[in-house]
Amino acid sequence: MIQAGLHEPQFALHVEDLTVAYRHAPVLWDIDLDVPPGVMCAVVGPNGAGKSTLLKAALGLVPPVAGHVRVFGLPYAKARQRVGYVPQRSTVDWDFPATALDVVLMGLYGRLGWFRRPGRAERAQAMAALEAVAMADFAARPISDLSGGQQQRVFIARALVQEAELYILDEPMAGVDAVTEAAIVALLKGLRDAGRTVIVVHHDLQTVQKYFDWLVMLNVRVIAQGPVSEVYTPENLRRAFGGRVALVGGQG
């Protein structure tokens, strides 16, 4: 099954026939998915739709029962330098003894290689990433002292410092205030405008049209995928969410 060359390199993320199961219950079923480069893509779906699992499968963190994933045409293990990941904030213990800068530096650990410590250059890069999320003043703060929104921005800075081409974020807007959300969206749009690809698990249907230009609707299977203007329809929402949501939003 391992192909020597590139497979579907025209897509930032290419998922084919992907099935993932926990304890024999399929969480993702026969997913076929293509995200072109340079878009800002939302992944939406009800609870238990497999949104986080899809991201983890793309990052090689959960083994698929069937199917494959390619990032820029390569298996994830060969493309990981080009991918920045922002996990859900609640997955780590924020009482861990580290400063904001320490956490951002971890984004460089994969690139540094064995036995090499982050030095002056790495610290400068990490500071620049903190600057980008307006957290430079908090570099020396223990992460346990940060608010939820500040912690989220530190997590994003840790991915930014990787200088990736594809950013994968799991619910980055969960539990942050409106100001922080606006700042995060502006930052992600900036990445998209610079030609990077951004894939976000998103929970707020009302802002999908405002924030994103590409949309994947998921409910164990892929319900619909494509440009937001084509995919964000009452029919698709009903199919993904089971008729419990009315079409919302519609701002221009």
Partner: protein, 369 residues
């Protein structure tokens, strides 16, 4: 004091220092990964390994250590297997594995003592530790294992840090998370092996937990925590050794554990920022400040009721309107310049007004009742 006694104290104190340093350093990672209980399992599981090592090679430190390490590794794998193949919760898996290995160890111990003659009596010292029986060769072996563990930590520092904080992210970065987790388990087993002779299998986990918990209270970054935990471990070890020599006949290992846990208790109580006492004081200070603001509110309400911003309110009236005694709060507020005492002839009783600073403080709250 004889030269022999000095030698013993020297060996014991040095051994206790090595034990404390490696326990504190390696226990930090166990505590941060919420794996303190795994340390307890590895320590108890060492007992059957020690017995088998004894059966193979008698009282010889290297086979004993190897036996303890192997048994610890087997126990760690058992915990993983029970967790993966059954639906037991982790605490139950840990408890079962600990009990099985320890029971097996005690059975083996009785067997070894039955067949092994007088020499095998020394083996039971590993239950609670017996520092006095330590030889120079034992100390050397402890130092080698502890030093090796420190080297491994230094070499893989950033990988260990990333795995302790956020394993999925570390895996996405391409770090070999499974390997580092195995290394951390091995390191924990090494710390335990270092301490077995001194502290014994039953109490060893305290030397992993207590210095790390104490250190976490004082610092906010990983390497200072690890360094301070090692230092706390050394202090506990040496003071325990000295105490047991001073008060003849008291068991060294348990004394070391008591000193370490006392340090942890003091840290939990007193550490600035995180300690219980510090937080109680902060809460009291905050409560006092809020109470003061409420007195200011009462003063302003009285002034508004009289249509006069500089209305001098009599102390008794403030207390009545506020519903609580206010004399101490008024003095405190006066010292902060938020209220001022005035006279209001012909009355002789003390009266108070809000100062402009006091009004500004209330306005700063956005309180515009």
């Amino acid at each position: 004091m004889t030269g022999g006694l000095d030698h013993t104290l020297g060996v014991v104190a040095l051994g206790a220092a090595v034990l404390g340093a490696s326990g504190g350093m390696l226990g930090s990672f166990a505590v941060l990964r919420r794996q303190s209980l795994l340390g307890d399992v590895l320590a108890h599981a060492a007992l059957p390994g020690l017995c088998l090592g004894w059966l193979v090679a008698g009282r010889s430190v290297v086979p004993l250590m190897v036996g303890a390490l192997l048994a610890g590794g087997l126990a760690a794998l058992s915990v993983l297997a029970v967790g993966r193949f059954t639906r037991l919760k982790p605490d139950a898996a840990l408890g079962i594995v600990l009990s099985v290995f320890f029971a097996g160890g005690v059975v083996l111990l009785s067997y070894v003592q039955a067949v092994g003659g007088a020499g095998a009596a020394g083996l039971s010292a590993f239950l609670f530790g017996q520092a006095a029986a330590m030889l120079t060769g034992d100390l050397q072996a402890m130092a080698v294992v502890g030093g090796l563990a420190a080297l491994l930590v230094a070499a893989f520092w950033k990988e260990i840090a990333a795995v302790c904080f956020d394993p999925p992210y570390a895996r996405a970065l391409g770090l070999p998370v499974g390997l580092i987790e195995a290394l951390l388990t091995l390191l924990m087993a090494m710390a335990i092996v270092v301490g077995l002779q001194m502290v014994g299998v039953v109490l060893m986990t305290a030397m992993l937990i207590a210095p790390a918990v104490a250190a976490r209270m004082w610092v906010t970054r990983l390497w200072p925590m690890v360094a301070l935990a090692a230092a706390f471990g050394v202090v506990s070890g040496v003071s325990g050794a000295v105490l047991s020599t001073g008060a003849r006949g008291l068991a060294t290992g348990p004394l070391v554990v008591l000193v370490a846990t006392a340090l942890a208790a003091l840290s939990l109580l007193l550490a600035p920022g995180r300690g219980v006492v510090w937080r109680l004081l902060r809460d009291r200070r905050l409560a006092g400040q809020i109470e003061g603001l409420r007195v200011l509110e009462t003063l302003r309400a009285l002034a508004e009721a009289h249509g006069d911003a500089d209305y001098p309110a009599e102390a008794g009236m403030i207390a009545a309107a506020h519903g609580l005694p206010v004399a101490r709060q008024l003095q405190r507020l006066q010292s902060e310049g938020l209220v001022a005492p005035v006279t209001h002839p012909p009355e002789q009783t003390p009266h108070w007004v809000l100062t402009p600073e006091g009004r500004a403080r209330l306005d700063g709250l956005g309180g515009t009742r």
